[in-house]
Every structure is written in structure tokens, then in C-alpha cells.
Amino acid sequence: MLSVLRSIWSIPQSMWGVFLHMFGRRATIQYPEQKAPLPPRWRGRIILSRDPDGGERCVACYLCSVVCPVDCIALQATTDETGRRYPEWFRINFSRCIFCGFCEEACPTYAIQLTPDFEMSEYQRAAMVYEKEDLLISGVGKYPGYSFWHVAGVAIGGKDKGQAEREKPPVDVRSLLP
């Protein structure tokens, strides 16, 4: 009997509890006027970052294109006159992209990065395809001070083998003979 009365009492109790929510804080974020706080690691719009010197970081290794589960990244590698690899063109189809971030994880040079920006709606489907000039930013993104060509053991114009940071000159194997 007591439990029956208690369950009946729970009905006005829960109604009162719901009523009190009238004076509680709203959970809604009024979006266009009020922006949701996005964490710095938010996986949004993809960009291509640059070296501290302003050169492109991307070495056109195709790893991002290979790892992409929806095949939305396409590029063509080429070499400049100093022997530096770079993408001739770089294309991301954002109407396919699922923002999984695998490309960022695969990238050996920190070139491709995901940014906290999701406001990229378009009226035309074709406008969702971003070319290299749309993707390249002028800054270093999340990795300031990192320059792949300064640490890579590859000879490019103006830098021979053994001249990179934390690298010793190559050993002449013939000098090691007994």
C-alpha cells in the first residue's frame, strides 16, 4: 500500500521536477550567432601547410591518397629544378571526405592537416572540390618550426647529403676497408 502511494506521489513529483527545468540553463547553442567551442584537434576542413621558410611541405608521396578510405584525395607528383618533390596538382573532393583524419596520420611531413572549421556548405556540388590553391595556407599549422627538408637526408638543390640538421656527413665506405 505504501509503495503504491509512493508511486502515485512520484507522478506529481516528476511533473514538478520537469517544471523546474523552466528556470534551468539552456543546453542549446544558438548556432549562427553563437559558435560552439571547437577543440584544437577538431577534424574539420583539410589544409596543406608550409615550411617556416614558406616552401610547400608536401612531398607528393601519395600516402594520404592511398590511406584515404573514400578515395577523395588525388594528386600528381613532380620535381622542381632543385630536385625537390612537390605536387603538381592536389585535389580533395570534400563531398566525399569523411573527415577521418587518416591522411593527417599518414603524412610523413606534417603537410596535410585537419583544422577546426566545418562551415563549408556550398550550393554547387562542384564547389566542394578544393584545388591546391584552395588548400594551401601561408602558415605552418599545428607544427611550428618543423621543416622536412632541413631534417631529410635527401640531396636537393642548395643542400647536399650530410648537411641536414642532426646529420653527419656520409661515410666513404672505401675508407673503412682494413
Binding site: I11, S14, M15, G17, V18, F19, H21, M22, G24, R25, R26, A27, T28, Q30
Partner: protein
Amino acid sequence: MSEGMRYALIIVIVLAALMSLAGLLIWVERRLLAVWQDRYGPNRVGPFGLLQPAADIVKILFKQDWIPPFADKVVFCLAPLVIVATTLTSFAVVVFAPGIAVADLNIGLLFFLAMSSLGVYSIILGGWSSDNKYALLGSLRAAGQMLSYEVFMGLSLMGVVMLAGSFSLGAIVEAQRNVWFVIPQFLGFVIFVIAGFAETRRIPFDLPESENELVAGYHAEYSGMKFAMFFLGEYIGITLISAMIVTLFFGGWLGPWLPPIVWFIIKTLIGLCVFILVRASLPRPRYDQLMAFAWKLMLPLSLLNLLVTGAILVARGN
């Protein structure tokens, strides 16, 4: 102004007020539900989102008026009209203030009960003519639920009728000059409110249209304006039940300072908000629980209420 003109004017005002109130209730319900769920609700269209119902109606008017090829076309089109017609007709006997009523019949309460029983036809015919298993199951549930709950809905009001000595809604309000009937008839009030929720098929008694089991129940095949008619019927229905609760238990238009009609409107609006609050807070029971609750608990309770009220009246010698 002649007598006929006066009544025509009252009818037009009541119809217009009810239709616009039903439209506005869409906004009120969405807004209040949102407020009680820590949200804002529709607040973009017009000031405070007040034009949201207008936008909804424009949208629903431009929807394709689709009748399923397997449906019984005539009945399918007629069914939504029945519920609007019966609920609107019930308002004929509601006394808004002294002298402001379409017809203060001496059998007003019986008329209301009869009309709310007729409303079941709309749901049964709508579900039957849809030729859809979910719609049919929904309308079967509605038929069982409304028949069961009507039994003690009528019985719960008999206490009020005994105290007032009349079936006329005007006389019932006048009989509450000293004390509102919610105090001497508290049990009857609770039973009537429960039956009223079941009659309007609102949460927690919305089993005929329970979304997670029956898609949308009896109106699963309806769209466009015909669907809107079902909704209009539902909103006018809750306004009617709220107006009846106010008339029968909360002294109708009686109240100090303000004009009688204002008191009636304020009380009815509070009733509507309680309807929405209940929707925001209570879950829906299982169908067998619903039936057992009606026949094993509510019916005996309303009979007990009837007996005790009668006994007290006889003992007091009137």
C-alpha cells in the same frame, strides 16, 4: 441586435478563436516542451517564433494531397472531418461567461459526453479505410481505450451533477459560487482528468499513435491537410477537455476583479499548459496496463465516488 444575429456572432467568434488557438497551440506546445527540456524551441520565424504555425500551415498546404491507392477513398477523406466536427460541436454547450454560449442546453454535459464518444468514429474509420496494419492496430487500440475510458468519464462527472443538481454547464458553474467542485469532488476531478487525457489520446495515453510501436497509428497513411485536420481535432480536443475541467471543477468564469470571460480563458490556458507539462514528464504505459488500470482501478473508484457522494447528499437531507 436580434437574438439570431447575436448567436451567429458568438458562433463566428468561437470558431475563429478555436481555430487560431489550435494553430497557436502547435507553437505553444513546441515552445513549452522545449523550455522543459532545457532547449529554446522554435524561435526563428517572427518574434519569439510566433509565425512558426503560419510557416507550418503554408508548408502543409503545399504538400501533395496523397490518397493511398489501396485506401477506401470516400471514408479516408471523411474520417478527419469527423473529429474536427465533433470536437467543435461540443463547444456549442460550453458556457464561456454568463450569456456567452452558443447553446446552454439543459443536457449540456450529456451532449459533451455524446460528442466525445462520436469522435471515436473518426479514428476507427481513419484507421480502417487506410488499409494498413499499423493504422488498423492503432484504431483498434483507440476504440478499446476510448470505450473503456468513456465509461468512468461519465460516471466521474455524476458527482458534480449530483452536487449541482443540473446537467446544464451554466448551472454547474453557478453552483460553485461558494466552493469549487475540485474540493468536494477531488476524486472525481482526478478520474475525469485521467479520462480526459485518454479521450484526447495524449501522452501518457497515446497508445493509438505510439510512434515506437505503430509508426503513427491510425493516421500513419495521412498527409497534408487531412493530417492537419487530425491534429486540429486533437488540439481542439485538449482545449475542450481543459475547458470542461475548468467549467466542472474550477468554477468556470467565477473569479474576482477580472471580467468573467477573462477568468475562463486564463483557467483554460493553465489547463492547456498542464496537458503539455504532462506530455513533457510522463511515459506511456503498456496497452494491457492501460486496460487493467481503466477497468480494475478507475471504474471501481468512480463508482465509489458516486456512492459516497450520493450517501453524503442523502445524509445531509437534500
